[in-house]
Amino acid sequence: MIGFQTLLYKEVLRFWKVGFQTVAAPVLSALLYLLIFSHVLDARVEVNNVRYAAFLIPGLVMMALMQNAFANSSSSLIQSKVMGSVVFILLPPLSYIEFFLAYMVAAMTRGLMVGFGVLAVTSWFAPLTFVAPGWILAFAIIGGGIMGSLGIIAGIWADKFDQLAGFQNFLIMPLTMLSGVFYSIHSLPMFWQKLSHFNPVFYMIDGFRYGFFGVSDVAPMTSFAVVGATFGVVALTTLAMLRSGYKLRY
């Protein structure tokens, strides 16, 4: 248990020491998104009877949360692999479960901190409601967990920084950007609406947004079931990789 706690502490300390880059910068990016999009669209667009700026905020919060959860575990692992310091966590008697939990919870922690930061900064620009805080918290935690686990997979799989960038740019970014952060999928043509239903990130954003406004494209329970199943698949895949020693123990 001390091993897990130490690895978690080390992972949190790692990103906290460069907090300007890992927490403050993504908050600023999200704020810029809000300022630009709300300036252009707020007066003209309403989604499900919600002003566009207010509609956008939960999406931005969740997007920043997920992207930073992914970035935390993936960048930490690729850095320690490339620099060779991964040996310091492979030599001690840490189990693969402790390894997984420490990296995932640390990623979740950074994601939640960034998400809270984005919410705190952007909430000044539009009136927000918190209809179902339980759903907000549940989707935030499980979304961070999924992306933290995916970050572990990517960090272990990638041998070089450009491979990790490929994973991030060609998988995580499209899944996030095309998930309904900036729009309701009901505004899309039928084909894209149907395709969006195969994107698990859509359910994370939609369920998270339900917690604020009480309206969503899909029932929150359905979204939670999809997100929970996604978490189960990703977590089990990560655990199987760690257990086998894939690209860590040869």
């Binding site: 130490t6 310091f88 030599l91 001690p92 040869y250």
Partner: protein, 305 residues
Amino acid sequence: MGVAVSISEVVKTFGSVRALDGVSLEIGEGEFFGLLGPNGAGKTTLISCLAGLVRPDHGRLSVMGCDVRNDYREARRALGVVPQELVFDPFFSVRETLRIQSGYFGIRNNDDWIDEILANLDLTTKAHVNMRRLSGGMKRRVLVAQALVHKPPVIVLDEPTAGVDVELRQGLWQFVQRLNREGHTVILTTHYLEEAETLCGRIAMLKNGRVVALDTTPNLLARFAGHALHLRLDNEDCLPAVLRASATNANGYWIFPLAACDEIESLLASVRQAGCTIRDLRLTQADLEDVFVGVMHGANAKALA
């Protein structure tokens, strides 16, 4: 004396390369054991198998009686490894690094022992310095400190003095020898053969993933070369063919290998009888380098394998 490390029939293949080809070794508790071999011989792979970083295709390894695979937690607790590569985590200071490493091994509040290690490795003044700001030698010391935070009964040093200045080498060896005297088993791989000769009680030599020599250091030295008599003669051509056959010529000296020192008198008598005048004479003792070169070139390897 109990067994600290047991390695039995270990085979490891990377693609078409057989890095370890049936290595078997037993290292007793409290030994200072040397693992020698040229680059690519399999030393680091063997150590990595012991540390659980590499999984062997075949064979068993245990540390202090704990199987490195099935009982990996206890095996890793019993082992402290100083890796060959100069690696560090750039986010933390020296003390943070050592506290974190202690935590990985399940130890909290380890500052008393950390202070002692820092003092012994002359790192006390660097305790709060970030790892990035340390020189290569200092980083090497921290690697040693990291391997010792959990007071492992078995310490593995994989070429710890590569690229390190003389002062640190001496300080490091004094500290490691003290740990050995206190009962820690030490396994050392090094390219500095004089270090292995001075420090190690027993030595294994690896070549192409196989143990080609395994004996106590004095036995290895005695078995391979003994002494050699170097003679510079007034006239090189005066040496009869029978004596030339038993000698080699290098830099103007005839070098006669001797199994024992009592052969000197009869050799000198033969040289005098041949009418040769000796201008210079030197008696040398074989060192580990001679043994190493002999083994790696196959001389006597068959007898020792």
